[in-house]
Symmetry: C2
Subunit: 201 residues, 2 copies
Amino acid sequence: MQSSPLLETLMESLRCLPGVGPKSAQRMAFHLLQRDRSGGMRLAQALTNAMSEIGHCEQCRTFTEKEVCAICTNSRRQENGIICIVESPADIQAVEQTGQFAGRYFVLMGHLSPLDGIGPDDIGLDILEQRLQTETLTEVILATNPTVEGEATANFIASLCRQYGVEATRIAHGVPVGGELELVDGTTLSHSLAGRQKFKY
Amino acid sequence: MQSSPLLETLMESLRCLPGVGPKSAQRMAFHLLQRDRSGGMRLAQALTNAMSEIGHCEQCRTFTEKEVCAICTNSRRQENGIICIVESPADIQAVEQTGQFAGRYFVLMGHLSPLDGIGPDDIGLDILEQRLQTETLTEVILATNPTVEGEATANFIASLCRQYGVEATRIAHGVPVGGELELVDGTTLSHSLAGRQKFKY
């Protein structure tokens, strides 16, 4: 018997967060009520704002509350004509953190998955095709995940690029830096061998 | 460079939840935006309601949006005159789930901790003292945690009970059911030996 319907609703609602089960939800609810009510109110406000106002960038499909996101509107990022294609907005952050990429992005928000009914238009390839047609692009970097679906998606987009005469490249698969060779799985190691490069003296 | 200030605010706000770091916050935010916007809105509403409306029960100090909680107003639970004293509202749920207790509760919302400046009044012992004075109680079960602070708190409350001639009992410490004796720590085992009971044929 629970003493508060509002508390029960809160615990139930917290479970919409990924990785939050009944125990964590209870812990979170009690923590907020007991120690951080202002944090809870701030979170409620941030959720309302984000859920209602964040949409997708018209050009790259990442999450933004503007029509076109900050990266797409940045003129310096348009100069080199390179687009990096990733599966999710989180991947953009990962690439940005390397500080190695100065072009723009295109976010698929998923990958091709015919069995789940996810076709080219569902991952925005119609928008990408328009961009390939209208913009002067020098290179499309395929940075989809190194999974079966990610590879299939990369292949599909590569053939699309060929159609419009834009060079497509794939990020390198190989041994992770700092890892030990004997712990690397066979597939990765064979990719690493096949993708070997001339030693740079 | 983040493309959306609202998204950044959401990630930052999610970190007020216990056990949520930057990576989990990012995952939660993207999950809600991509797959469960209605869940996010419901959570925002539930948070607002809970944070603004949930207070403490006047009698037992548990969380409730009413003046007196459902357990305290239940007349059948007042009959036996037993109060179970616990440290947090989560403990009430744990005891309720056993289905073994038909009395009422008193929630300390913490424990005595002089080093942190938490004295008797901070854990509501003034309210408890009033209840000991005015109500006809037959027993006070001390179900604080089996920690140093929990034991100290239980001792303090027990002496308070003696002052008002109310019997105080402490929940049994011992070997957990289903555990193996060789894995139980020494302190628990010595408690278990000291608290041994006559065999019930």
